[in-house]
Amino acid sequence: MLYLELFLSFLLIGFTSFGGMSMIPLINDQMLSHGWMTAQEVADIVAIAEMTPGPLGLNCATFAGSRTAGALGALSATLGVVTPSITVCLLAAVFITRFKENRLMEHALFGIRPVCIGMIAAIVVTQCQNNYAGTLLFGVSWQAILIGVVALVLLLKFKWNVPKTILVSAALGLVLGG
């Protein structure tokens, strides 16, 4: 059953992700392996989720659930992704003083953080393969690469925020075509 599958898939994503961007590789994996989305659609969700209010993981769950199985699908995916907050975190709320400096949790996170960094780097590679592919010279799209370089400079050098950068990139896409 699709609703249950969506719920379980986002439950797994929720329990193995630790906020923000670290969710993207997991979502990418689950979406592609279930055939619920193309890599291009995953790129679209990241951009759309960054432009709309709400945490990235929640927006991705709603978008993915809604695209694959309508409003009920969105509800199933969302409930899956918030389950860690209702279970593990609620327990932590009851015992907050003991959770504050938990040695084992700190050790586990010491390994999880670099894993997230590695997986996010891998996502950059696959996203580049997908989004800069074109029909021109060397099989790349020079427009997409140009926009990518502009976006990177705006974000890193000029410290622009993400929604503003996305708007400029959309405008450049419209002008340059592709």
Partner: protein, 187 residues
């Protein structure tokens, strides 16, 4: 007493609903809003407590905002408060995203939208890179971290091992490395 608690739960739901409408750019904006409403104005919690909620919320699996909301809500008004905060903060983005998805489905194949989306997709890798730069500073502490990060990247790119399993392996490696470091420090 009971009435007062019900009023608190309702207050939390209303305010978190409002926070949920304006949480752009990750979890920090909502932390700032909790600070303003419940630390400075209503004085329900202290600034230290809020800091604890965010650091515990970040170190537990799941959405950081969801976790911080549950921790705050529970402290302020028990179980009902925790659920009020969580659902308050997720309902607005949920409704907005359903609308956005419908619009996305309708306009995706429009030629102008397709051109704009080409530009947007081209910006996604830079967006992820800029997030990666920040994470790099916070997460890469020693040689162990570099080995684990490179291994995770390679496993994710070149094997069929699911990313979920890679996270679990990272947690195990972290636990083992933590033991090793502590034993070394003792001897």
């Amino acid at each position: 007493m009971k009435k007062e608690k019900a009023a608190r739960v309702w207050d939390i739901f209303q305010n978190f609903f409002r926070f949920g409408c304006f949480t752009f750019g990750g979890g920090w904006s909502i932390v700032a809003q909790i600070q303003k409403e419940y630390v400075e104005k209503k004085k329900w919690i202290t600034a230290e407590e809020l800091l604890d909620f965010t650091s515990v919320g970040r170190s537990l699996p799941g959405l950081m905002i969801g976790n911080a909301s549950v921790l705050f809500g529970y402290q302020a008004a028990g179980l009902a408060g925790a659920l009020a905060a969580l659902f308050g903060v997720i309902v607005p983005p949920f409704l907005i995203m359903i609308g956005v998805t419908v619009i996305y489905g309708l306009v995706k194949d429009n030629p102008y939208v397709a051109r704009a989306m080409m530009g947007v997709r081209a910006a996604v890798a830079p967006i992820i890179i800029s997030a990666l730069v920040k994470l790099f500073k916070a997460g890469m502490k020693d040689a162990f971290c570099y080995v684990v990060a490179i291994a995770a990247m390679a496993l994710s790119l070149f094997t069929d091992i699911s990313n979920i399993l890679i996270v679990v392996m990272g947690a195990a490696a972290g636990l083992i490395w933590g033991e090793v470091r502590e034993r070394r420090a003792v001897s």
